[in-house]
Symmetry: D3
Subunit: 277 residues, 6 copies
Amino acid sequence: MSAIVELEQDRVVEGVYAVAKKERRSTRAGAPYLALELVDPSGRIEARVWSDVDLLDSRFAEGDAVRVLGRVDRFRDRLQLEVRSLEPAEGLDPAELAPAIRRDAEELDGFLEFLAGELSHPGLKATVARFVADDELRARMRSLPATADGHHGYAGGLLEHTVAVATICREVAQLHPRLRADLLVSASLLHDVGRTIELTRGPVFKPTEEGRLLGHVHLGLRLIEERAGPLEASLRAELLHAVGSHHDARAARTAEASVLYHANQLDAVAATRPVPD
Amino acid sequence: MSAIVELEQDRVVEGVYAVAKKERRSTRAGAPYLALELVDPSGRIEARVWSDVDLLDSRFAEGDAVRVLGRVDRFRDRLQLEVRSLEPAEGLDPAELAPAIRRDAEELDGFLEFLAGELSHPGLKATVARFVADDELRARMRSLPATADGHHGYAGGLLEHTVAVATICREVAQLHPRLRADLLVSASLLHDVGRTIELTRGPVFKPTEEGRLLGHVHLGLRLIEERAGPLEASLRAELLHAVGSHHDARAARTAEASVLYHANQLDAVAATRPVPD
Amino acid sequence: MSAIVELEQDRVVEGVYAVAKKERRSTRAGAPYLALELVDPSGRIEARVWSDVDLLDSRFAEGDAVRVLGRVDRFRDRLQLEVRSLEPAEGLDPAELAPAIRRDAEELDGFLEFLAGELSHPGLKATVARFVADDELRARMRSLPATADGHHGYAGGLLEHTVAVATICREVAQLHPRLRADLLVSASLLHDVGRTIELTRGPVFKPTEEGRLLGHVHLGLRLIEERAGPLEASLRAELLHAVGSHHDARAARTAEASVLYHANQLDAVAATRPVPD
Amino acid sequence: MSAIVELEQDRVVEGVYAVAKKERRSTRAGAPYLALELVDPSGRIEARVWSDVDLLDSRFAEGDAVRVLGRVDRFRDRLQLEVRSLEPAEGLDPAELAPAIRRDAEELDGFLEFLAGELSHPGLKATVARFVADDELRARMRSLPATADGHHGYAGGLLEHTVAVATICREVAQLHPRLRADLLVSASLLHDVGRTIELTRGPVFKPTEEGRLLGHVHLGLRLIEERAGPLEASLRAELLHAVGSHHDARAARTAEASVLYHANQLDAVAATRPVPD
Amino acid sequence: MSAIVELEQDRVVEGVYAVAKKERRSTRAGAPYLALELVDPSGRIEARVWSDVDLLDSRFAEGDAVRVLGRVDRFRDRLQLEVRSLEPAEGLDPAELAPAIRRDAEELDGFLEFLAGELSHPGLKATVARFVADDELRARMRSLPATADGHHGYAGGLLEHTVAVATICREVAQLHPRLRADLLVSASLLHDVGRTIELTRGPVFKPTEEGRLLGHVHLGLRLIEERAGPLEASLRAELLHAVGSHHDARAARTAEASVLYHANQLDAVAATRPVPD
Amino acid sequence: MSAIVELEQDRVVEGVYAVAKKERRSTRAGAPYLALELVDPSGRIEARVWSDVDLLDSRFAEGDAVRVLGRVDRFRDRLQLEVRSLEPAEGLDPAELAPAIRRDAEELDGFLEFLAGELSHPGLKATVARFVADDELRARMRSLPATADGHHGYAGGLLEHTVAVATICREVAQLHPRLRADLLVSASLLHDVGRTIELTRGPVFKPTEEGRLLGHVHLGLRLIEERAGPLEASLRAELLHAVGSHHDARAARTAEASVLYHANQLDAVAATRPVPD
């Protein structure tokens, strides 16, 4: 069994992967083939089915787990898997095969709880605690990405990104005592909470219908409004405002909202921009 | 003697201040008056000279230290000083009266040295060390603002902002091991070093002629090029690139340059955006 | 008693108005005065208090109803009222003195009900009906403007603008049978419903604290979510999407959302752009 | 004979179509083929000629009517016609085969006349009447699209779009009595009249050389200037201004010009933005 | 009699000037005064009437020539004329008093003719010749500015700017033989010809009603279309295209149109951007 | 031996060319091939290697000179060379095969010296002279393009563009005596001097690592600072400012910097925008 990250050119491999994308195409000469993206916890690889297309096409759908036999080739500087045979991998949960975070999720989860525990304002502490105590939501943070196809685009990326942005905000609050630290850290911990109902489980991470139309910002505001009972009205508005403007620098009217905007940008570029060898 | 931060409406005060701005104007009815901005280490206040204008006008220039007797009034929700008498304050250095940093400069200076000392790459460490060992440049960092009329616009703001940006970058480098930490921290420590030759001492902090035409970004690159002898060519180019694009997100081509851009923005908004009472 | 719309230059007038704005200023020569904006249902006029400033200043606040004696002057091509005496107008509701809609509010209210009654989709019809049946909300639509200082900036402007946008959308749905008419008309009827909790009653129409931070778009989404129980999930998301993107053309992903965006713009420019004499 | 709208996958069909686009290409392996877009009044379909390429290529040109035998295939989720044989369709006018309006052109023509007839201002009425009475121009409105490859991109789209924009403007003029209704409706009826000399007949709707360089806005202004004899100078300038700024919101200086701009946008998005199934 | 360019502070002067702007204002204390801009061929000066305001106001209008006695003062670093007495200057043409070109208009006129004479393409030569032979239009080019309040904003600026842009274009055509020199030079000679019917004579240079609504670009296209009889259709379209896109870089589709755009910008910045002492 | 500019479809040719680009790709059916761009002093042509791919691939690298036997084909309206055999061309300098300027380089070099010799300000004349006297730098101007893949993208384009921009600036300085002609012409002669260390020799003209990160603007400023010893500080700052803002219109603060910006744009569009046949 070969992990994707270990595949090498010109080798014949056998492995179990999830189908993150599946598209039926034709060559210019008219022959049909399948263009796939296969994933496992270690990474992603493009794959092609050139033979027995109709037969194999009928055996699996996007999102399924499959057992594959094929040969690793190179196409435009990237590895590609030429599939020879393929069958459903019974009894496996495809979401377990989604590309996964490389850092220790336990440790990140612990740090999330530490940051939430540090809060001292009672209303903010209680509001954040309702999210921290929600086991299902916490499980989604460990299994969803921060963005479907941008930064932190792997299972658990949502947890990793949330902890990173909150860590940066906490540092900035220490450097700038004028900022309301509890408001800022609470907003950073909750800023992407809408992702938990915007996206579905891997390997495809497709947005829900509601997610596609309303986006994670609005869905996050809805979740916070449902749980912000313990919070006085004015601070609730500030918290919602910071979360609501975290993708729109010009909408931010408070220092904390502006800081959250830039901390979010900062973590995204740190994760994605090129680092030369 | 009254510190500006302690002035209250409807009081007669006497104090020694520096003249940060001076302009001669006329009322619509044709009477001349002087519009001033007075500063001391604790803050800034607008002032007006309505009587004996010609006499008082001849006694002092923008940038001078003056001894003032006047009455504090309120104009459009802000305090304003109505000057009754004014004379040069002999023997005082006006730069000492510039609005000053509120944090402990010693501590900031110590943290700057700590950050420079942590660097482990020999070429970067040696290059940064040449700046850290330059007592005149270090003194300028303690006496100049980060921007003449934007964020950190007081004496020592340059030092405070530099340390804050470097602290944020160091934190981000710990969160993202893929980043080249020494390059990022070095670039952050030097990113505004051009300010030391762009701006002149307080209380006015006027740009030099060269500063006005070339700007602190280019002047900083020049300073780094003069002192980057110990650094191999490719890393020197990376360092210059990060400093050179710290005001232009789209020009940044490396993760470290992008991170520096956003860390700089982050510290600026944290210092200036409104925090409701 | 003189209505504002009937004031003429060089006349001495007496009237009862509401104070829409009040600011204490000083002349350059140092004398304090009050700069006011006075309103009544017929319009707005700038006013000045030059004498007895401290005495008169203490008698009333922004938002109050006042009885004024003064002289109408002209300043930079606009009429201005020079106040000679001013006292609180006891027993009057200042909101009754806010500039008001010129069209017949009854008729507009009737047309709103007609448009809501025409809907045939059960879930949309029931959702809209909950708003139409809410007497307090309906009263707010008659007493609030569509924008505090833009188009339809008078009491009842919210009702007038809502009916106009819905009328345009209904027309467009008839021209384009491909559009989902009930969705489009429902979204147009509810698009500005958040204004009812964003703004406070006249004459000042100040935003609430929550209104200032969250804006009418988010507040409208919250109101719709609270009342959209009868609506199936996918259509609820479409309705929320159209309302949520009515100020952001690029966010609109459906034809109905795009049409609402442009219908809203169309009614705003029709109400405000200059029509030469 | 098969209408394009009725073609189904995996069927062999025979039909008469017009060639809206024709391009000779090569596969990567070097074999030449023809990439076509075929149209008839019911729609459009991509087509490919893989065999006898040189022979078939010589038989027809872009814009011709052709008789085709082929098989319907699917390529990237869209139907595509694999051409087996193809010959010129003698005696047919290719323009008759252009994709055509689905609404009743007679009815639209009648409504155009109704709107023109409603005008009461003598100069505007007379000016518009000169266009309405121009049979050739009217015929072009029935046979040209509103845009060559955007909204209303089929024969008669120009007429349909013109009537729709004028209908919306008439409605807005009723909602806003401050608007000069005759000016607004006249401008809307003439706003795209330049299209009649910008574009050539279908199936290709290629712009004329002059159309490509000068655009329909300028060409429309020229046509109006030639026929606006009955109109007093100031109103002629207003009419030209509204037509001249109907693609440039910022250039519009009058309410009527702004309304026309947005009504044009509104009709375009209503026709083209996606409507989910 | 004192030319404006020779006025000095603290002198009493008498002169004959034209009134380029006139506005009645009030001081904050309520006293009316007149704010004027006076011009003569040598320059411009702000002026104020503080006394006998009602009497003097009734004696003259914007655009008149007046005889003034006053005292030169300084206000915010600029000279200002305090008017003591003022009366109409009978028998003078105010347009003769507009600020005028400093270069020799004869010489510029000669160079314009030289450039037109150099053209060798018969159609372009004949078209341009119709403008060159139009004495009234030529006179307007000598008496109008290139822009009412931007670059070359004085009588004759239109002629000077036209010759300069054409000179630059001729030079560029020599450097780039691929350009169609006659087309480029013709377009440059005619690019601002619409100004001759957009603007009225000095000293105010107000736009005509048509000028305000349609702008000089469209008016220039109309003039060229009226006179381009000798020109074949395709070249006429090219000429109109270049003139029509000379304020819109993105609309330019030919090299000549792009060059004209930049040559126009180049001459404008060369005339207006600051040159340090 | 066939020059690229003379190649015709369907001919078998033999020639010596340089490889400006080389990429290994696969057809959809999986067969590898090489996609090349071949150049010689007369032009550029795409080429493909379909057979013996592995063998031929090992024989040459991007940037090499090669001897090629092949057949000229047409692909999407452009000629393409189908390579049959290919071998290294020993003993040839590939840079000699880069696409080259068509104008006489001697003449351009002479005009460069003429423009430099005309300068009369001693400091500017001496500074420019240091560049003119640098034979290596002059040789680079004759062998490098002005941009790697934009305007003047052939060997010697840098010299041609520099002379053209300086010629335009000289003309503008004559039209506008207010400009400081020596400053403007000096800045134009040096504006792209950074290209000499940004780009490497043909046929590939790849940027150096430093060039990629720092860009020609900064590298040019560095070269000028190294050689501007004879120039007084204030004029040196003006010269650096004009060169430093020649790609950024908004950064330009002086007339000369703005003129240089537009002259550079003007020459670029004159060289690249389409000229219809």
